[in-house]
């Protein structure tokens, strides 16, 4: 039923997104980018693609950070346009999508302020997708006083809710009060809350077709997060006791997804990679994914060539998003678009880094890009 009326409100926005599908770089174009010998060459190549307008005003020897900022700005502009064209649930939905970037921005700001980085630099580095006016005011943060930061500034913002929950959870725990909180920890827990909240939103407010597509994606994303948390906590020196590991894991693992709650007990206690593989074996193709993952206990030996867990997961994620993008009449297409474009930007930046370091063409790093939609042809 919802397919019949999907176009009434959301048809235009969807059509725009479908049109933007043409802006993705093709495999041949990636090949050409790999052949670029210097950053100016890469830039002039990008000027012949859809990224033309956002780079024109810049100096040819563009630093990678500015390049990233420009590419992201373009994505943000497109997204803003679609957001402006949307109505009703779609607007709420798109806003929810942006919250993830807001969390990133807030945590980055906090981290930067703690490291005494100039506010101007911090502001110029924020992701335009997650911009909101109050972001400037995070400056009032003093030391670790997150609760007053929340009370003074964040309470009014879209992500205030998550921050409040986070404070409630952590501050109730006496142990945490005395520990200096790592921004990375804040980020992971905020994102977990966001993911759960977003999942709930999709479940409650969206039409069945959108739900079907999105819940599937979100479940995978939640599982991805869970596996990441477990994987990264294996052999982590900060968490020395088993009980501490488990409580931390419990706090950071999302309570949604295919793994929760069936495998929860197993994965919470997994102290080696093999145990983790064992824990997730019941689900989907996770076991296959983890098969190639390097052992986290040998973290020191990792280098550029290692295909890390993240790379493997991103690859699988990319396949799912590309599939979801081709789904009709669902909001999944917006989500996929955002994710795939992010991947594309990551690719370009990665290649730009490779080029600026003048690495040899047979270096394995050149192969470490995941091309959106390349999975569909095969």
């Amino acid at each position: 039923m919802d397919l019949c009326v999907f176009g009434v409100d959301d048809g235009y926005a969807e059509a725009i997104i479908r049109g933007l599908r043409a802006s993705f770089l093709t495999e041949a174009q990636y090949q050409q980018m790999k052949n670029c010998a210097s950053i100016p060459e890469l830039k002039s190549f990008l000027e012949e693609t859809d990224y033309q307008n956002c780079l024109q005003a810049d100096n040819p020897q563009i630093p990678t950070s500015i390049l990233r900022q420009r590419l992201k700005k373009k994505l943000a502009d497109e997204f803003e346009y679609i957001e402006a064209q949307s109505t009703g649930t779609l607007t709420k939905y798109l806003f929810h999508l942006r919250c993830r970037f807001m969390i990133d921005n807030v945590v980055n700001m906090i981290e930067g302020l703690k490291n005494k980085i100039d506010i101007e630099i911090l502001l110029s580095n924020i992701d335009p997708l997650g911009w909101f006016p109050e972001i400037k005011n995070i400056k009032v943060l003093e030391g670790d006083d997150y609760s007053s930061l929340y009370r003074d500034v964040l309470i009014d913002t879209p992500i205030g809710v998550y921050f409040m929950k986070f404070l409630e959870e952590t501050l109730n725990d006496i142990q945490n009060l005395f520990r200096e909180m790592k921004p990375e920890y804040i980020r992971t827990s905020l994102k977990k809350m966001w993911l759960e909240d977003f999942y709930l939103f999709c479940e409650q407010e969206l039409m069945p077709t959108s739900q079907e597509a999105l819940l599937e994606l979100l479940k995978f994303e939640a599982d991805f997060k869970t596996v990441q948390v477990i994987y990264n906590s294996i052999g982590n020196r900060d968490l020395n006791t088993a009980a501490k590991i488990i409580t931390t894991r419990k706090q950071l693992c999302p309570t949604i997804g295919n793994l929760y709650p069936d495998c929860e007990k197993l994965y919470l206690q997994a102290m080696t990679l093999d145990a983790l593989r064992e824990a997730v074996k019941g689900c989907d193709n996770y076991r296959d994914l983890l098969k190639d993952a390097p052992d986290p206990l040998k973290r020191e030996e990792f280098n550029v060539q290692t295909k890390t867990l993240d790379d493997i997961m991103y690859d699988d994620e990319c396949r799912r998003y590309a599939l979801a993008f081709d789904g009709q009449g669902s909001y999944g297409v917006f989500y996929s678009y955002l994710k795939l474009k992010e991947q594309e930007i990551r690719n370009i930046i990665w290649l730009a880094e490779m080029i600026s370091r003048k690495l040899a063409k047979n270096h394995p790093g050149w192969k470490k890009i995941i091309i959106p939609f390349s999975h569909l042809g095969k």
């Binding site: 002039s44 190549f45 006016p133 005011n137 995070i138 400056k139 009370r151 309470i155």
Partner: protein, 857 residues
Amino acid sequence: MNFFRSQTMGYYKLIIPRESAWNVMNELAELDCIHFVDYDPTLPMINRPFANYIKRCDDLLVKLSLIEHEMKKYQKKITYCKDVNFLIKNFKQLIKERSKASHTYLDEIENDIDKKHQQLIEQSTNMENLHERRNKLIEHKSVLLKGEALLGQSFFQPANYVAEGYVNLQGKELDDIKILQGSVKFNYLVGVINKEDQIRFKRIIFRITKGNAWMNTMDIESDQIVDTKNDDAKIIKSVFVVVYPGGGGSNVITNKLNKICESFQVAKYTFPENNMVFQEKLRQIETELVETRNVHILIYILQLKPTLMISKEFIKTPIVHKLEELKLFLVKEKYLYTQLNYLRVQGSVLYGSIWLPQGADIKVDQALREVQTNYEGLPTGQLQISPPEGTRPPPTYFETNEITWGFQEIVNTYGMPRYKEINPGLFTVMTFPFLFGVMFADIGHGFCLLLLGIYLCVYNKEIKESDSLMKHALIVRHMVLMMGFWAFYNGWIYNDFMSVPINLFGSCYEPGTVDDPIHKDEQVWVQKDESCVYPFGIDPVWMCVPNELTFMNSYKMKLAVIIGVIHMTFGIILKGINAIYFKNWIDFIFEFIPQIIFFTCTFGWMDFLIIYKWFVNWTGKTDQAPSVITLMINMILAPAKTVDPPLWGDGQSEASTQTAMLLIALFCIPIILLPKPLILNSQNKKHQAQGPNGLADEKKELYQKINEDSEGTQENSEIHTEQSGGGGHHEEFGDIFVHQVIETIEFVLGSISNTASYLRLWALSLAHGQLAEVFFQMCLNGGYSYAINFQLLIGYTIFSMATFGVLMMMDVMECFLHALRLHWVEFQNKFFKADGYAFEKCSYAKVMQDNAVPKEE
């Protein structure tokens, strides 16, 4: 015959020494007759030898547009180029007068523009800084004035606070606070904030002070602060005053507030504590303001204005602004290098492949020789005839003029004619306006359109120079003229003037009476004279009889079908002519001949019946007249049966003729279907038998070559092989056969549905007539009896608006689209292959013209 078939093309090799590449190319581009073939379309432009020149031109164009922007900001007028050819001549002159190598002119310009750009940027930043300072002063002034208004005069009265302490300010009015002032020390925060941040600022202040502060704001007059960086956009700012209790500077709240202010990028100001200082400060700002304004004007006159006076400095051509001239020169230069990029560079020589229309090679040769005479000491290029390379056929090129251009565009929109194929554009020139006219047939409306066409043609020049909206219609003026003429003409045929027939020649009928007592009261029309025939078009008397619509419909329908069958037969004949021209005898014998026979035996026969029926005088025996539709249906359903009622004779001869027709038509279908694929297949087999290994070897070689190639070019060559592989003609028999089956079905079924499609000629004309009648009846008819009165006035207004809006705009559009469809689908599918590609002549005039028009903003 240039317009009937595309021009004969010749394939040539062009060899240009690198050092004279610019000069040769410049000379050639002025000829407007060369189509450069890209030697490797898969190679991206940035990897080509002249890419950096193009890049430079692009950069300079960007700089120029910045200068232009700046000029517009300061209201400098820019005259745009109207005559591009004049400018090209000028450029040529300019280059000739220079002593240095001609392509270095770009370097010179580059320097000039860079310098200008640098200067301009410097000066405009100066201006901006000045503006900034002025904005700051205005802000400060406003803070003083508004602050005074917000705080009230009493603020300046000496405060004799006694103690510092906590006071609850929540919900208090300013006056209350003033009373409290006696007992507590207050801190004041005064500044300017962007209006859009104001509410958030208020909220955060509230939260930080826990509500224990008093805040008020006041907007600064909107037109005072101008953002020069952002195209002089107006920013609305407001002055705010925050009053909060608290002691010395080390206060926590003060600290936090300061941080907040910083994060909002608020400009804080200290508010003078007593009236004297206040007045002093105000005066000081006033004088500073005057000073800045003076400096502002000075800088403008002394620096910026001379910089912007580009025209005076360089002026050479009086008709164009120098800026525009530079822009067009760069466009030209960029185009030149783009074309040069199509040539392959080998050592110090450029090799290019070009297509030339017949006869143009002499012009090119001459141009090449001219290079030698014009630039002494420079080697010139060479033109060599060569066999075409690659699988691509020659491009299609028609020389069009103002009249044929529009019609050719109609054809090209559907598809570019194949090289040397018959150009439907030629016939479209006549048939298109005619078919339009059949649908839009109306003396009055047609005349309006005709008038418009005449107006556009006669006042062509005047309109072109004016700013009138009609300018855009000029390009199709001949089309409008002809469409108007045919609508007008067909209006006379149908005798229809906005739904009223005109009795111009005097009707052949007059009112009479009947003897029959039953129908006594009915109006009867009696023919004046046996031999009387209305000389042109339909007798107006038909307007007055009750079966008018039935008659007109039948008449128009038949006319539509006759026109349609003729049009389509013509299309099939063109197919035959094409087959003869390309010496494609299989197509001629097994497609064209059976098709034309099939078509004449079925729908040609129908046309014959219609016309035959018109020639028979049915007076007095109307009930015996056979219906053409029934005849046609019976021809298929009961072919051998005697026709009853017959059209002629006793029906026997008619029956035998139609049976014969049907049999011939049916016999034609297998002829279209079978022989062609069989013959093609046997031909293919023969080819393969001749060289079964040749092809495989060729492929092997190619693959080997690819493997030998380095990694980088692998992709390119792969794409290349795919392309050349696709060009092969060795299809499977199944494919050929299926293709032919589809063709046959399309033709047989198409001939029926297409004929029916031509009924739109009738349908649209009917719709037009009915619409016109409705408007006429509803709006004007009531007015007859009242002579001139108010009702007529209103009626006429509505009538004229409806006529203009519905009939002259919407119906013209509709008839246009239907005529377009009849040409694209019904006519052109009979013969038109439309798989050619356009000849793109290398022409300065064209690119410059495209860039000469200022962009609408």
